[in-house]
Amino acid sequence: YSETVYIDQPAGTPLLHIRALRDSHGEVAHFQLCQHLFIYRVGAYENHWFQIKEKTGLLYLNKSLDRGDFDILFGKNWMSLPKVTFHVYLSPQPFQGKECETPTSALVHLSIINATVPACNALMSRELCFSEMDLSFHIKENKPPGTFYQLQLPPIHHLCQNVSISYKLLAVEGLPFRYNENTTGVSVVQRLDREERERYELIAKCTVREGSKEMQVEVPFLVNVLDEDDSAPFLPNGTSTTDAVVEFNRKEGTVLATLTVCDADTTPIFPIESSKKKYTGTISTTDPWISETFRVDHIFHEIYFSPNGSQVRGTLHEYKLMLNKNISVTENRSFQLDVLVNDTEFHGPERSVMLHFNVSILPVSIQFPNMTYQFTVNRNAERFAQIGKICIENCMKFCGVNITYRLLSPNASCYAVGILQGREDKYGSLYVNDSSVLLRPECKEIQYTIVASDKQSKKHAKTQLTITLEGTIIKKEEDCPESCAINKHRAECEECGGIGVLTGKCQWRQGSGKGITTNYSTCTPSIRTCPDGTCDIIESKDPAVCPQDCTNGNIIGGHERGAHGIKSGHGVCYCFPRQNCYCEKDDIKEPLCDDVC
């Protein structure tokens, strides 16, 4: 509520009408002011000037506010807009003298003008008709009818007796509002139902007649319906049951299935905690294993219903059945898991809904596909050359199952190959661990047994691995760098070997050469694995294997850095392991001169 008060307006001048709607039929509104006025940035003062009629809510001047009063109130800190604010307290029963205690109050802002009240003809028709506050009202649904506003401004009505001010409420047929021409009161004539309609946009039209002159003013008259929790949860498409299958993905946090519950009421998304508490979803079971192994995650968001053409907000609640811990590969059981959804703030019947998840946990086997692994390795391969990947059946589908791979080698003297596994990798990577073995003529075909085992269930599987060494040994070029990545040109690249090479020589990857691209030119031990934007477990063992993918050092020249290494580069990218990498256009042949350039 806000209004303007002028100096020397006589005591008894009506200022504004505080209105209240009832929560139940028997209630009678009682209004009361509190003892203090509060003036922002000035302080608090005994309230001598304003009073309210306890029964009608009419706020009026109890004592005229003269210039002396003005100086007392606002003298100390001159402000462009002297203003008084105070609360009007509301109670369904008479006040027993206890002040400023009831929970419901309305805030009133009075602008105090250091001038006498202007004559009616000095006021614009807008000011004669409406106060400057927006005519925007909030009415709680499901409450009894009543008058909630009076269009006529009490001080104007009191001051401008000889001006005819009449009002109309322009609205479409059938709206639940009435305008009383005698009292200019606007009432809501029936209980509102927010789930039917939550916003009404009317127009208040005022006509001012003074002598022959007539002016009209129209302003929006908006009614927002406040929501109450008066709707029970319901199943949007009637389904309260769904299947939840656990097979390869047995990892904690996996969402197995989702069921949705709707509610025609709104649910504010903040503060999120209290909103979540309003709608609970609890697993109803007595089996401790189930409570330990599963949990329900609840998220909700606003959706729209459109009963009879208007759009109203509601809420869609999603209940996700999730694994609360990793499940062993041997676990094998089926059961129905029930989740009780409860709208804690709805007090009617059917405030809860039971959701049913048909859970089936299938056992999965740890086995190799029925084959043995055979790889050929060139005798000129260097350490950290990547030979191939080892994977049990369905290994890429597994999640939350920790499979580790080991090599057992009967032939200890020809032990050239090792296996590694990245933290997130679901396979084992075979690589050359000791390149000197490859040079021994007696080592031709090396047999290994691969063992894959699951830590949790202790289950394991075995298969055979045969490594056949091939190729004639070539003499190593002198003066070749330790890492292929150092070479800037194709010629020197393909001339030399380096750590991680498969066939004894580095490979040149010719890029597209356009701008800064992931397809930059570079010298690599193996185009298949490096650079591919990932610093894999083998490359991470030695910075010289694939600095393009693994460097955290400086990258000079046109480039874009990835989480590790060079994401994209300009022209040719070359790297000095443990130092800088460079990306530059290579088509410029700059004479390597030492002295004067």
Binding site: G515, N554, I556, G558, G569, C583, E584, K585, D594
Partner: protein
Amino acid sequence: ARARHKPCALKELEVSVSELGLGYESDETVLFRYCSGTCETAIRNYDLSLKNMRLKKKIKKEKVRARPCCRPLAYDDDVSFLDTYNRYYTVNELSAKECGCV
């Protein structure tokens, strides 16, 4: 007369990022400061001796520098820009801040 070069000093040039030739395409401009000029006045006994030893083949097949270089002693702060594909890049040690004969 032989072209006389000015002593080693800091020069500046306003160029577009694309003109840097690093592969970035952007119309933004940067102030590129570089070191230019000769270092005749900074020659030391070391340089004279090294030159003589190379002439007398006491030092062979080695990449040695027998005269001071006019080079940056410090570099400007990083510079960042938005390229024509609306992606941001930052380039460090692009522009010289101070030059000297080393």
